[in-house]
């Protein structure tokens, strides 16, 4: 389990991480989302003791990272930036890490097999592709068979097969009861991988909830309506308490409306009662991507002046009361 309490990091007068409090539970994949510069990597570095926080604290299984005797046996980490010498082979990179933890050298071969790099492990990492570099990083993270994994953009640079492999590996590791904390800017990847989401923007917590809840509760559902009599329908919808926005009509098609505040069946009833012809009536399902854009846009809007993370209006409904469980 990873816990952050009031975690704060300042670069000059910019707050990179702004009083973050969250908890990453074992046994499930927790996605860590946020736009570029939101502070995801910095937060991970703070948890791992690489950066010194300006305030607050982070613990892993109840202890600060620096107090772990052989940390790689408890925590595995894949950092966003490459952390290996281009002139050193993958095997030697993993070997020196294993030696610091008193792990046998056969463990190096085991993780090389796990990531499928055994054949090229003797070559200098200079010649590796981005994806191969990621695999070495994942191998390094798995070296001590840790119960807690922090992965910063693990699918970065991987081909579709590699992405699928990482996705399955992460799910499997979570299924074994490990704590998995994965950051990504690929929202749709998180939608299929993560069970739980922690979303930050400008260093502040925006949401801490299940992925399903995040999608359903954070987005306004809308209905696309296409009709040759769009103007009259828009007035009727407004009279019923809905909100209709005229969309740009595409060539040769009837004008369309984006309706919020009314369900599709009700719009159909209104149209039928008023003998308005409909060409299309489609409920729009928000994707995780849209939900994310909406929420982070909110964080920018409400961003200034708030100190407590849960105080941001957008976050209020999504942050579980008093943390989870």
């Amino acid at each position: 389990m990873i816990e952050a309490q009031d975690l704060t990091k300042r670069y000059g007068d910019k707050l990179a991480v702004d009083h973050l409090t969250f908890r990453v539970e074992p046994g499930r994949v927790t996605g860590f989302l946020g736009p570029n510069g939101a502070g995801k990597s910095t937060t991970m570095r703070l948890v791992l003791g690489l950066d010194r926080p300006a305030g607050g604290r982070a613990t892993i299984n109840g202890r600060p990272y620096a107090e772990l005797a052989q940390p790689l046996r408890t925590v595995g980490a894949l950092l966003e930036a490459r952390a290996m010498h281009p002139g050193r082979s993958a095997r030697n990179h993993l070997l020196f890490l294993a030696q610091t933890q008193g792990l046998p050298s056969r463990r190096v071969d085991e993780v090389l097999d796990l990531v499928g790099l055994r054949e090229v492990a003797g070559k200098r990492t200079k010649g590796y592709s981005l994806g191969m570099g990621q695999r070495v990083g994942i191998a390094a993270a798995m070296l001590g068979d840790p119960s807690v994994l922090l992965l910063d953009e693990p699918v970065n640079g991987l081909d579709p097969e590699g992405i699928l492999w990482v996705r399955n590996l992460i799910k499997q590791l979570a299924g074994e009861g490990r704590t998995i904390f994965v950051s990504s800017h690929l929202m749709n990847e998180m939608a299929v991988t993560a069970d739980h989401l922690i979303v930050i923007g400008k260093g502040k917590l925006i949401a801490d909830c299940s992925t399903r809840e995040f999608i359903s509760r954070s987005s306004e559902k809308s209905v696309l309506v296409r009709s040759p009599d769009a103007n009259r329908l828009a007035d009727l919808i407004a009279a019923e308490g809905g909100k209709a926005l005229a969309q740009e009509p595409s060539d040769g098609q009837a004008a369309s409306l984006s309706v919020t505040g009314l369900e599709a069946p009700r719009i159909g009833e209104i149209a039928a009662a008023n003998r308005i012809v409909l060409h299309e009536l489609t409920p729009q399902l928000a994707s995780l991507e849209e939900a994310f854009m909406e929420l982070t846009a909110g964080s920018v809007e409400y961003g200034s002046g708030e100190t407590a993370p849960a105080a941001a209006p957008a976050a209020e409904s999504l942050t579980p009361p008093g943390g989870s469980q």
Binding site: V111, D113, E176
Partner: protein, 305 residues
């Protein structure tokens, strides 16, 4: 809390290694030393720099000694060449190693800045979050490596020079009080002469501490080019130039500068008016280096990695 321990069904190749109780510090220390040795031997810059160090030192020792003897014998001796007459051992040890030492400076910087430029430092510090043991282990492993290479090259340099110098009869012509004077001298050096063994062995010691000095500067500056420039600038330019400072305070400052003091141990005969003995000078150099290493460790503990 962490009630869930990894169950038996680990991913394919993951046979969960047993998690023993924290090992004694001594075994952990051995692992760290092994790890630093793995890091050092697994990049090409280490063997290459050592090869360059040996080739430059031995080659130039032979070349300069031979050229100087040759020019003396052909009667074109200048003031610079007379060093080989007054103190042949210091001449032998000062020529090749004087340039070869720059390779040790470069290597000392590289073993630490290479971690920063490549990002390996993050992996290293994740493995050892207390941080300072990384620097101590690195310094120790590097010191042993440079000590061995330094002693081998110092003794080989000496023997190359000795073979060229011994039995060589040099004809020196000069003018004393307006009269042309010709003298014949037969050069002879031997490890059994006073101070010679100490000077040769001391050359290896000097190189070892010089390597650590460079490592400390590398740890402070963290950028390869900047640190190499700083170290070589100090060793080749700033410290020797300080010898131009006037009066006795100038001489004191100059004497106590790191490599100026350190090089006293590489000279078999003390020069006139020498302020520190050979071992005192070496002690001063060690103190400087320890101070800089301590500063590098303090910054390592404090800075974001």
């Amino acid at each position: 809390m962490s009630a869930v321990s990894p169950p038996p069904a680990s991913p394919s190749a993951l046979t969960a290694p047993a998690r023993p109780a924290p090992r004694p510090a001594r075994r952990a220390g051995r692992g760290l030393l092994l790890a630093e040795w793995t890091k050092m031997r697994s990049v090409r810059s280490t063997p290459w720099t050592l090869v360059i160090f040996a080739c430059v030192s031995l080659g130039l020792t032979g070349l300069f000694t031979w050229l100087t003897l040759h020019s003396l014998n052909s009667g074109r001796n200048g003031a610079r060449d007379s060093g080989i007459l007054t103190d042949p051992v210091s001449f032998i040890l000062g020529t090749g190693l004087g340039l070869g030492q720059l390779a040790i400076c470069v290597l000392g910087v590289l073993v630490i800045t290479g971690e920063y430029s490549s990002g390996t430092i993050r992996a290293s510090l994740l493995a050892v979050p207390h941080r300072y043991p990384v620097m101590l282990a690195k310094a120790l492993v590097f010191a042993v490596l440079v000590f061995m290479a330094g002693e081998i090259v110092a003794f080989c340099s000496y023997f190359i020079g000795a073979v060229l110098v011994n039995g060589e009869t040099v004809t020196v012509t000069g003018r004393i009080a307006g009269h042309a004077v010709t003298a014949h001298r037969t050069l002879n050096v031997s490890l059994s002469q006073p101070g010679v063994l100490r000077a040769v062995f001391g050359s290896g010691l000097y190189l070892t501490v010089l390597g650590l000095f460079a490592l400390a500067i590398g740890g402070l500056i963290r950028h390869t080019a900047g640190a190499i420039t700083a170290v070589i600038g100090m060793v080749l330019v700033i410290f020797p130039l300080a010898g131009l400072l006037p009066d006795s305070w100038g001489a004191h400052i100059h004497t106590y500068l790191p490599t100026v003091a350190g090089q006293l141990i590489t000279q078999d005969k003390p020069t006139a008016g020498q302020l520190l003995s050979a071992w005192q000078g070496f002690g001063v150099f060690c103190a400087w280096t320890a101070l800089l290493l301590a500063a590098a460790i303090v910054l390592l503990q404090r800075r974001d990695a």
